[in-house]
Symmetry: C2
Subunit: 561 residues, 2 copies
């Protein structure tokens, strides 16, 4: 490809509103352009990278028996109603009506579509297991798009769906797909940690995210020191040690409290005791039902909203309560009681049993309660793990300390079990005994654009991108300097005839411009043709500072796989 | 691939509502399934064919310098307003609003998106010409979906857009793309005629459709006997010979006419003269403006609505008038005058000058006019070619007779010229003289699913599909019969290790079932492993009736490219 004819050349100057180096470099390098917020054009250079990523994913999906196919992007809304996902708010559905007033969801994930297809066939146990997948555009009406490809509203996703006979067969499928994911990300130059995660609006009982460590990542997870435990903050479990196990249980008391004692900090200061000795209450409202949910927790811990949502079976439905909500249950900010507000549901964290003689729980203008003991003085509807894990906490078995990591979620795998087949009639197979049984499912996603951005976040320096060979848009960036065009053309033809992919900067620009653009674009090998080099070619790897002079044959030799 | 694990096996029994053999065979063979009317799943087998078609198109597009990329599917409606295409009704736009109430068009074609992208760059004459293309899902809210893949509401289209310096450079681009199209369709096993066509809602001055002859095709075109002229009925030109050039011009007269004379047939019977001697008027209403347009034409010809729309610059906007419309201009069905109705625009066909002393034009209950001569007795707003060409008519030069053909439109190419760059500000390049000039454009589409269906319409027999090798889902359909599974597995491994693609029917079914399925699925070579064949393999081409016994090595030899 001659650079002079490439559509989408480099541009210079800082992008405003761009917090991410991948956004900066992909835009300036001529890989992508924003259309509307969160919707991107892939320019020819960027699309070459995208398609190399696709090819690697396809190879690995096919290797484990995945069968590629495609489903329509417009999903009849009736299917989403069957699974009641029109009510979930994990991502905002976009819907559209056709000329005959039929309503469709713009596909953001395709579980219902695949199940609807599968149930059109009379599946036998002999057909199982099978995994089908597609690369298709997904639409997500995200509240906020992040700069560049890290969080977008339209993107190509590889989504796979597995169908098994039962949970035991599924174990193997899930494991096989997880292994395929590790191979995919390794081939793409990414070390992706497999992290236990929240299943959110997808459903099912367990799932994992594949997260590439990065400071700019949105996914925060906790890892045990030896790496044997990795879990997203929304599901990370930790041990809650007893705080004061030897203290004697004392009688419940209401005591005066100065009016200035309002926040947790005030309490700590006033009583001279650590936050772990106090009760804390965080109030939420269910946006679907209006119900008030109070998370009651030890004062040194924070409520994790996602965990709380699972505890009350209201995924994606809780929002922090407003002053009006508090008024509705007869209280105000800072005065929430750990029991007794009419019309509120109380969910307690597991930590409530780790403290003897809690302080707090019945805060009024100038009084509060002390020596409050769970079980004796108050009880919640249930105790559950609703606390946010933090670095320094212990793993559940108490043997290791958790450390905090942050990264970009590039893929995820979900056990779905019977979540969809139970809700969609006819999602069954005929087993060996002649009986119809529900299909046992899993699903598996990789966002291609975000993966591409994650690669750039990892592979760049202050001059531009440094593509790993596996996904580089071209193998060689050929540069011809002053008057060497004829020689360069011969080199270009020789290399392309040898089956190598070459981007030839044949412009009349200065060496400085061409070198800077080559660094920005980031092709792994730069090859300079110049009269000065007396018939040899200057070879320089993008990730090296030193160049060497080589004969053309030696160049071909090095580049051949 | 083992057939036992393939998702989407054959099914049997007639499809109801299926008029097309491609729909029948693709459904029964396990290639596609309908989701909602006009929206299809491609099953793994069908997707393999689809992707082979894609690969061939991509190769040929790249060969002529096309650069693949991608644009978002949600187009900001503001872009469509810039070109005023929200007002055209060539296909029904689907629109959707996001959470912030921004409105988007679901892409049905992407001219605006590409122009909007290109104008983000400072294009120089040195960058020109270039052609960018994409394979992407298109949405068209068609009034009627036809059975199967022939007319759908959602499909993958390869759409390309060329940018040139001027009309003269563009000639070369257009020619190059047309040649690429011929190569593509030839490689796919299709002979596609390049036919002059209507540019419809796309705009521009000329365009061509690529049409594969087929009885079930929706595109009707006229072809000269020697094939040098091919034009869609909506644009086909023909010669209108003088009907009665030697007749003396007579004075205009109003004469009595029996009341039963109403239709053209009545007139022919009553006067004993051919239909070509009479005036005919066809009334339309512009659905956007309400304006009444009357097409006045020689009695033996039919008005072509598309041609008439172009004559009044109202593409896609005319509908046949209702009785109420006729009443509005003071007349009724059968009584329409060739002049004088207040508020109506009169457009005459070129044929109005080929007759001396027309009969008709001022029909009332018991009178009509005779000896009506265009120019002397009445004049239309203009004369234009608004007549439908028919087989048997002469080519414009009068040297050949037109014949009628029918086929499936699988691709089209459009000169757009300045149609878009004139409407979208900033769609310019900087020319050598330093001045900004508008970009000269073309666009080029191929519908992949319809092309696939066209292949099946052509390549099938009464037992199933007969895929051309270039697009067959697999090269070999391996069948193992009773107890030969071990031997078959060895053959399967040997062939796949040799790089051949094999579908192995490893089911426990009877030979009859397996043979029938192989015929239905249509893979070019059937290979049977059976104890009876004493170590040899039974080789049969799908398009042949005779089988032969071959050694495994001979099989590999034959199949290697």
């Amino acid at each position: 490809m001659r650079y002079s004819k490439l559509f989408g050349k480099t541009t210079h100057g800082e992008l405003k509103d761009s917090r991410f180096i991948s956004h900066q470099l992909l835009t300036k390098g001529g890989f992508v352009r924003e259309s509307t917020a969160g919707r991107y054009y892939f320019l020819p250079l960027g699309w070459r990278v995208h398609e190399k990523i696709r090819a690697i994913i396809k190879e690995e999906m096919d290797r484990v028996g995945g069968q590629e196919m495609i489903t329509p992007l417009l999903h009849p809304i009736s299917l989403w109603k069957e699974t009641r996902r029109t009510e979930s708010v994990g991502f905002e559905l976009m819907t559209v009506k056709d000329r005959s007033d039929a309503q469709f969801v713009l596909g953001g994930t395709a579980e219902e579509m695949f199940v609807d297809l599968v149930r059109k066939f009379k599946i036998s146990y002999r057909d199982l297991p099978f995994t089908v997948y597609q690369f298709s555009t997904k639409f997500r009406d995200e509240l906020r798009a992040r700069g560049g490809l890290l969080r977008v509203r339209e993107f190509v996703m590889k989504d796979a769906y597995s169908f098994d006979r039962d949970a035991s067969d599924f174990q193997q499928t899930y494991h096989t797909l997880a292994e395929a994911y590790h191979r995919i990300f390794r081939r793409l130059g990414l070390e992706a940690a497999q992290v236990e995660a929240d299943n959110g609006y997808i459903g099912g009982e367990y799932c994992h995210e594949f997260i590439v460590e990065s400071e700019v990542g949105e996914s925060r997870y906790l890892e045990s020191a030896d790496g044997s435990y990795r879990a997203h903050e929304d599901v990370a479990k930790f041990r809650r040690e007893p705080i004061n196990p030897d203290e004697e249980i004392k009688p419940f008391q209401i005591i005066p409290q100065p009016e200035w004692v309002k926040t947790m900090e005030d309490n700590v200061k006033h009583y001279g005791l650590p936050a772990s000795r106090f009760l804390k209450n965080v109030v939420y409202r269910n946006v679907q039902t209006g119900e008030i949910v109070i998370g009651t927790i030890r004062g040194d811990l924070e409520v994790n909203k996602i965990k709380l949502e699972h505890a009350v079976d209201a995924v994606g439905q809780l929002e922090e309560a407003t002053d009006a909500d508090l008024a509705r249950i007869g209280t105000q900010r800072g005065w929430v009681h750990s029991w007794g507000h009419q019309g509120a549901r109380y969910i307690g964290d597991l930590s409530l049993t780790t403290v003897r003689n809690f302080i707090g729980g019945q805060k009024e203008a100038e009084t509060d309660s002390i020596n409050v003991n769970y079980g004796r003085d108050f009880e919640c509807e249930k105790l559950a793990d609703i606390a946010m894990a933090q670095p320094g906490y212990l793993t559940e078995d108490g043997r290791q300390t958790l450390i905090e990591k942050r990264g970009i979620e590039v893929g995820n795998i979900f056990q779905l079990g019977y979540h969809y087949s139970a809700r969609m009639e006819g999602a069954v197979f005929v087993d060996q005994d002649g009986k119809e049984k529900p299909l046992y499912m899993g699903c598996y996603g990789i966002g291609l654009g975000r993966t591409l951005a994650a690669i750039v976040e990892k592979y760049h320096d202050d001059r531009g991108i440094c593509w790993p060979e596996a996904v580089a848009p071209f193998q060689v960036h050929l540069i011809s300097l002053g008057g060497s065009d004829q020689k360069a053309e011969a080199v270009y033809r020789h290399l392309t005839d040898a089956g190598l992919s070459v981007l030839w900067d044949d412009r009349a620009d200065s060496p400085g411009v061409k070198f800077a653009d080559a660094d920005l674009v980031g092709i792994p090998v730069r090859l300079v043709v110049s009269e000065r080099n007396k018939g040899k070619l200057e070879w320089k790897r993008r990730d090296s500072r030193t160049a060497e002079l080589l004969e053309l044959d030696a160049v071909v030799e090095r580049l051949r796989p």
